[in-house]
């Protein structure tokens, strides 16, 4: 494994990036990435409503506030959102901006998961960036695993 970390995020970590650099000593055929976080949803209904009310104060015009509050349900359930992007020694290799809390990703010379760019897997310093767009639960545990593969075909996590 090039990276195998488990960590926790809290609401204070919202709107921050966490970077995980790793070194590839020699060119590889492919890189596999497994990323997951949990929980996805904020199940505490009153907390969710409280957070939404705070955001309405900030984003909704005073004269629309009452209506927005009436329609709070349309924004429920609130969700954590962490997205992942990849940099190789030469630059950006794409991002996977979607809501799935479990993502198994693959990047190789001739193939890549949607959002990532296929191309040579060069030796050097790579970085996985986790972008914590919103953490709404008290704690959100995440796990990131990265490994090099010597075959182009998508393999199982070692």
């Amino acid at each position: 494994m090039l990276i195998d970390i488990q960590a926790n995020a809290t609401p204070e970590d919202s709107r921050t990036h966490v970077r995980f650099p790793f070194k590839l000593n020699e060119p590889a055929c492919a890189i596999g990435i497994h990323f997951e976080y949990s929980p996805k949803r904020l199940d505490d209904d009153s907390r969710a409503r409280e957070l939404l009310e705070q955001s309405f104060e900030q984003y909704v015009l005073p004269e629309r506030l009452a209506l927005a509050k009436e329609r709070t349900d349309r924004y429920l359930p609130l969700q954590n959102l962490i997205t992942l992007s990849v940099d190789d020694p030469d630059g950006y290799r794409g991002a996977c901006h979607r809501h799935d809390p479990v993502q198994s990703l693959w990047i190789s010379e001739h193939d890549a998961s949607p959002g990532l760019m296929k191309g040579k897997i060069a030796a050097g310093e790579w970085t996985i960036t986790l972008s914590l767009h919103a953490i709404v639960t008290e704690r959100c545990a995440y796990r990131l695993q990265v490994w090099a593969a010597d075959e182009e075909e998508r393999g199982e996590r070692p």
Binding site: S14, R15, H17, L51, L52, S55, F56, Q58, Y59, V60, L61, R64, A68, Y75, L78, Q79, L81, T83, S85, G91, Y92, G94, A95, C96, H97, R98, H99, A112, P114, G115, L116, M117, K118, T129, S131, H133, A134, V136
Partner: protein
């Protein structure tokens, strides 16, 4: 010269959309579009299928990316090179815009008043803007049946306020299209005026966007021209000082995208407005072919003017179309 029907904000499964680029382009062609901007969240990997999708569907695909940051979403189009969205903080968005421009792209505020985090992360525009001229456009109409939505009314007012303050920037529509499902709601089209048809469509489209040669509608295409003793000016052009009076010509082309939109009441009104308020409003009786209106305008104290089409759609009195501005020095 011709007007190009564009969808300027769309996603594929390279981010959180549900369509492939091929499906997106085919769906756009069915809706009468000629051009789509691929603006996936924080990635341009979808462009790998650009040529194939263009060939199969005849749709011109503009490369782009929606900066999906913590403090706002910014649509960038016309650049094939990536600019790093992760460096953005509330104080430095102009650096990002400059980098987009340096690579030949245009940058606009996406749905600036959509509710933000945590309901929709980063969706509300919270970046400090020092110079509005630095931006190419504001996405004034987001989503379907855009003109009746409150968030869009705020975005439209923001645009009008900036024009009144003397800034020159365009206003567009963008569906923020994620889903392959069909909708009954009216769909907005951003028409871009291509001046030089011998140049590649993509380049001309971005030029049009940057220069504000733009007209937005959920139905007929509205055009605007000003003629002075010296010359003729189109949408996005600047009338120089010294031209005291202009003859304004508004065209309403009801023949565009035939069968793909309806007005439930043919009684529309056309309005000429600007920084000095609304000048003139005329009722439209015929809703076939191209209807033309002419009026004379004194240009004293005038910063900008635009045409707006109003009427009843789905039982609601609403703006149906607006042109971008003709400016006055």
């Amino acid at each position: 010269m011709r007007w190009l029907a564009c969808e300027l904000h769309a996603h594929t499964l390279h981010s959180d959309g549900k369509m492939t680029l091929m499906e997106l382009a085919s769906a756009a062609a069915k809706l009468g579009f000629e051009c789509v901007a691929l603006t996936d969240h924080n990635t341009m990997s979808g462009l790998a299928d650009k040529e194939a999708a263009e060939r199969r569907t005849g749709i011109a695909i503009l490369p782009g990316m929606e900066w999906t940051t913590f403090h706002g979403h910014m649509v960038t189009v016309g650049l094939a090179e990536y600019v790093d969205w992760r460096e953005a903080n509330t104080r430095n968005i102009h650096e990002g815009v400059s980098a987009v421009h340096a690579r030949g792209g245009a940058a606009g505020l996406a749905h600036p008043f959509r509710i933000g985090s945590p309901a929709c992360t980063g969706c509300y525009w919270e970046y400090e803007v020092d110079d509005w001229n630095d931006f190419d456009y504001i996405e004034a109409w987001s989503g379907t049946f855009a003109p009746i939505k409150t968030d869009n009314a705020r975005a439209f007012s923001l645009w009008t306020d900036k024009l009144n303050e003397g800034y020159r920037l365009a206003a567009t529509s963008g569906r923020d299209w994620h889903d392959a499902a069909e909708t009954d709601e009216p769909i907005s089209v951003t028409y871009l005026r291509l001046e030089d048809e011998s140049r590649p469509i993509g380049e001309e489209a971005i030029e049009a966007l940057r220069r504000g040669r733009v007209s937005v509608t959920i139905g007929p295409l509205v055009t605007l021209e000003a003629e002075t003793a010296g010359a003729r000016y189109g949408i996005g052009d600047v009338v120089p000082v010294g031209e005291r009076a202009a003859t304004v010509r508004i065209g309403i082309d009801f023949s565009v995208r035939q069968g793909l939109w309806t007005l439930d009441d043919p009684a529309c009104r056309i309005r000429l407005s600007g920084n000095k308020g609304v000048w003139e409003e005329s009722a439209i009786r015929e809703t076939e072919g191209t209807q033309e209106f002419r009026m004379s305008v004194e240009t004293e104290g005038l910063l900008w003017m635009r045409a707006e089409l109003w009427g009843i759609v789905r039982g609601v009195t609403t703006m149906i179309a607006f042109t971008n501005a003709i400016y006055f020095d």
